[in-house]
């Protein structure tokens, strides 16, 4: 299958940067330790903030570190390749191929995510398990499976948003300003800075309804067993709806870009 081939090749491409991976795992681990102590201090003051206990909070921190790169919260991934190819005009080559461009880039991004999960996801998680008693694995098979599904949906959601940002390069030639803004928004509304569940109302409700909640809050809540049974299905369904909307929008933007906008360079 073409898309599997694309995904494995992107996986392999990322796996050539061993140095960057090792450095990244180290950074994730350092931040994980710092955040864990900060959260423990916070939950010491308010032992049931957001419906979490101290152990939930520490686990949440490490899920966050594991997903930071996997979900590409900051940006990055194959959508950066796309923006660069739009800027240089190499997108012409993508455009005249007889395969859908979005599926192509999505497959690549899933390959990238798999690589980041196996390295920068699992690396810090192992460390967390060794260092922190409070760190817990999912309590049930349902939670574990739900988490995996939710994580795939998280990557696709993030891809869809990054795709829209990258496509801005068709008009602006350069995505970097928008990419930074989108990264900041994602950092805040994904729950990476602070869990969305401890936001004061009405921010909590608003943040939980936005697509960025998919990035971390939703998968983490499933891991922690906060969303079970029908509620788990509702969580996955919400992710699915946002994906449908965002990917649809992305397809529209691509179509209008290729009708109106111009491929650069001779």
């Amino acid at each position: 299958m073409l898309y599997v081939a694309v995904a494995t090749r992107t996986f392999r491409r990322y796996s050539t940067y061993v140095g960057a991976t090792v450095a990244g795992i180290f950074t994730n681990s350092v931040f994980g330790v710092i955040y864990s102590f900060a959260y423990l201090a916070l939950w010491d003051q308010r032992p049931d903030a957001g419906g979490y206990d101290g152990s939930d909070a520490v686990t949440y921190v490490w899920i966050g570190q594991a997903l930071l790169m996997t979900v590409a919260v900051w940006g990055g991934g194959t959508t950066d390749d796309l923006a660069e190819r739009i800027r240089t005009g190499d997108v012409a080559i993508d455009l005249y191929r007889p395969v859908g461009m979005m599926g192509w880039y999505l497959a690549g991004d899933l390959g990238r995510a798999a690589y980041h999960l196996l390295t920068r996801g699992i690396g810090p998680t192992v460390l967390a398990w060794l260092l922190f008693d409070q760190f817990d694995f999912p309590g049930s098979v349902q939670a574990a499976l739900g988490f995996v599904l939710s994580l795939v949906l998280a990557v696709v959601t993030s891809f869809a948003i990054r795709w829209l940002v990258a496509c801005s390069a068709f008009w602006l030639l350069d995505q970097s300003g928008l990419r930074m803004m989108a990264g900041a928004l994602a950092l805040f509304f994904s729950g990476m800075a602070l869990p969305l569940v401890i936001f004061p109302e009405p921010w909590r409700t608003i943040a939980l309804a936005l697509p960025w909640a998919s990035y971390l809050q939703t998968p983490a809540d499933i891991w922690l067993g906060k969303r079970e049974g029908l509620d788990l299905l509702a969580a996955l369904a919400q992710q699915g709806v946002w994906i449908a909307v965002l990917l649809g929008l992305g397809q529209l933007v691509l179509r209008s870009a290729t009708r109106k906008v111009v491929v650069q360079g001779g």
Binding site: L2, T16, Y96, P98, T258, R259, V262, V263
Partner: protein, 319 residues
Amino acid sequence: MALIDATDLSRTFVVRRKDAGRRSLRRRREEVHAVHGVTFSVEPGEMVGYIGPNGAGKSTTIKMLTGILVPTGGRLTVAGVEPSRHRTELARRIGVVFGQRTTLWWDLPLRDSFELLQKIYAIEPARYRENLDAFVTLLELGDLLDTPVRQLSLGQRMRGDITAALLHDPEVLYLDEPTIGLDVVSKGRLREFLRTLNAERGTTLLLTTHDLQDIEALCDRVIVIDHGTLAYDGTLAGLHGRGGSMRTLVVDLVDEAPAISVPGASVRRVEGPRQWLSFPADASAAPVVAAVAASYAVADLSIQEPDIEDVIRELYSRS
């Protein structure tokens, strides 16, 4: 039926320029007519050179032919369909080589790029093997298959790109400056390959180039475009006549002499005993030579054929 049919084809770009001189943020809208009312058609099996000076509109035309750029005026059909509306469908039937870009994947070995292309174009495995073997032999790629593209030299990469464009048996191959940056030997080999391709598979070729030897070696037909408009469409031989081109008779006299005067030719340059006479390319050289030999003591004579570059330069400067 013509394979490519362009009628009054146009593409206008709108660019915004800052007003020069004035210190305002207002930008002036300006239209660039990159391609302007171009009409031509190409039959299956033809080899057509599409030439013109920098900025003439060659690459813009190729982009419209592949469907990645929408024309702003006129009609264009390739293999019976409008390229921009049937881009993906058409992609299976055309091949494109951009001299300045690669269609290969930078980090992947050549072999992997080819395998991805097999999947993209859904090339039947047996046909894929056959084509790959043929092109690898013809283009001498055997030793390079496991090299990542970023480690290939320009000429090696170009051979890889040409293979990549041909694996799915396209009916027509567009080449945008395929010989740019190649050395003389590589250029020669590439031309020979393209000639073989056209002869054996009947692949239609449309190529842009700034190297007129490409045209002389490959194309019976040339289309000259300048400032977006068609300046010439016809045979290479016809282009000589069109440009009012001249042949040159170089005469080495035994002694220095004033400018030679014979009917049907005029002296262009005198340097010591050597003189350059020009006469129309379509006239016979015999009477001129005879007249010179009859009146002067001649040590040596030679004839220079008109240079296609001069002809085209002439054509550009007139349009």
